[in-house]
Amino acid sequence: MKSYIIKRACLALGIIFCISLITFFVLNVIPGDVVAAMLGDFASKDAIEAARAQMGLDVSLPMQYINWLKNILTGNFGNSYFQRKAVLTLIVNAFKYTFTMAIAAYIVAIILGLLTGIFAALYHDKLPDRILMSISVFGISAPSFWIAIILQIVAGLRLGWFPVSGIKSGIWWVLPAFSLGIRSAATIARVTRTSMLEVLKQDFIRTAYAKGLSKRRIIFVHALRNALVPIITILGNDFGVLLTGSMITENVFNIPGIGKLLIDAINRRDIPLVQGGVIYVAGICVIIYFIVDILYAVINPNIRLGGEK
């Protein structure tokens, strides 16, 4: 187990290193002089050169990468060209919103997904099952930012139940959480249904019925616990998906999260901010996948006992 964790940690570090390499070189091949654009049309040549040296842009590209990496490792992500603030501060502030939104959506997705999946499995091949599964296909196919707009129109404007845009208190998260969570809920529902159907066929369920246990206990304790392994696999991967999904959906609701920060940075060609944002979110995703992998190993003895997947 220990050697598995060490191996997996090395892999995660390698992946983060590659991601930093790709991010840096992709974002630095952009044509156009950023410094000149930043200082405006009236800046003298000397002023541009001085600014460039100050930003560390006067050395070769590989050197710039090494310096950038060194700085990042010490927690210095540089300064935003336009906001004149430390990139890390901006990112961490914005990330709070994105993370909250992903968590809120995650909760919606898990509750909605599990309940729908279990319900559909119990009514296998009957009308409720068909209806729920058709809705789930719809949910998987709809882009979350469109669901967000439709929810804004229906639940926000027409019915007036929830505030439409911005974040002030808990209730403002309801629409964002649902619009982001529905897609994952649909995936979870489908996996739960399949997994539950598999388990409900087995002998120990029949035994449990024969013992006279209540149906609720059998379903939620005996069956669900055994159906959980494939569901947890999906749950782990989904969080990373929700995190990036949140970056798009928050634009609909005007939430000042990392997606909005990045899009603004992209529009202003604020390269340190874009670079920092991408590497930060990517790093967090890699760490989440790492943790999820370790958790699988804990749950699934096949991996724990040395067998590779």
Binding site: I22, I140, G245, I248, L262
Partner: protein, 283 residues
């Protein structure tokens, strides 16, 4: 498996047939777009701004008086082309890297497997955003960046398939016979992988379409005024108070298309190889 078997399997699956018919309709609509609508997708008619659906404009008009149905039809061209071309690119890269890893093994496998790991563990949409920013918005750049980012799942599938079949007798026979590696890869391994490749293209397309819509929504995909479902939704957002229909239709177009590809892909997978249960990661 013979083609007749595949067709027979497909014919049994009513949902797959229905989605195939929807897809054929969509392709026909894309090809004959100029003949299907009397309007120009980009021509502004400021007197007809933001009209509700009516007999002259079935889905209403947008803030520049452009017919929304017409723009959705032309948006379909963008979505299908981005979906199909990007997935062809992805499959091409995925096949060759997957075969190289599975066939040559050892250090080649180690390196390629690591690259596959890297590409499947970074957040897809985030890097699509970064790439589109670096390359600039536009159709060709969308093909390239979505293709370049989504090959990992295919490569992984092909790798394990090749590892499974490379030691079979007919491959060994070809080797003893003096067949070159390239010959084995193209003449013997490729036909075995074709069913897998078709399935992974079909199931990759809906993800590519959704990614294109998201990127265009953010302003990083198809630049305005060219119509794409994503940028139409972005433009419609200012008018959700007055014009509900404007947001509704492009989204429904996305859903119908993505749903049809997903269900057709599932049907195809079951028909080609009931044991093949793979899913490509999406948004």
């Amino acid at each position: 498996m013979y083609h007749s078997d595949i067709l027979k399997n497909m014919a049994k699956n009513k949902i797959a047939i229905l989605s195939a018919m929807i897809l054929i309709c969509l392709v026909i609509i894309c090809i004959f777009a100029p003949f299907l609508t009397p309007y120009d997708p980009n021509k502004q008619a400021l007197n007809d701004r933001l009209l509700a659906p009516s007999m002259t404009h079935l889905w209403g008009t947008d803030q520049y008086g452009r017919d929304i149905l017409t723009r959705c039809i032309y948006g379909c061209r963008i979505s299908l082309s981005v979906g199909i071309i990007s997935q062809l690119i992805a499959t091409f890269i995925g096949y060759f890297l997957g075969v190289a890893a599975g066939y040559f093994g050892e250090i080649v496998d180690d390196i390629i497997s690591f690259i596959i790991q890297v590409f499947s563990s970074f957040p897809f949409l985030l890097f699509a955003m970064a790439l589109m920013y670096a390359l600039g918005a536009g159709k060709v750049n969308l093909y390239l960046s979505l293709g370049f980012l989504s090959w990992a799942a295919t490569a992984r599938l092909i790798r394990s398939k090749v590892m499974e079949i490379k030691n079979q007798e007919y491959i060994q026979a070809c080797k003893i016979d003096g067949g070159s590696n390239l010959r084995i890869i193209l003449k013997h391994l490729l036909p075995n992988c074709i069913p897998m490749l078709i399935v992974s293209i079909t199931l990759g397309i809906p993800n590519a379409i959704l990614s294109e819509a998201s990127l265009s929504y953010l302003g990083l995909g198809i630049p305005v005024p060219t119509a794409s479902w994503g940028n139409m939704i972005a433009e419609s957002q200012q008018f959700i108070r007055s014009n509900t229909y404007y947001s509704l239709f492009p989204g429904l177009c996305i859903i119908v298309t993505v749903m049809a590809f997903n269900m057709f892909g599932d049907g195809l997978r079951d028909a080609l190889d009931p044991k093949l249960h793979s899913q490509k990661g999406g948004l």
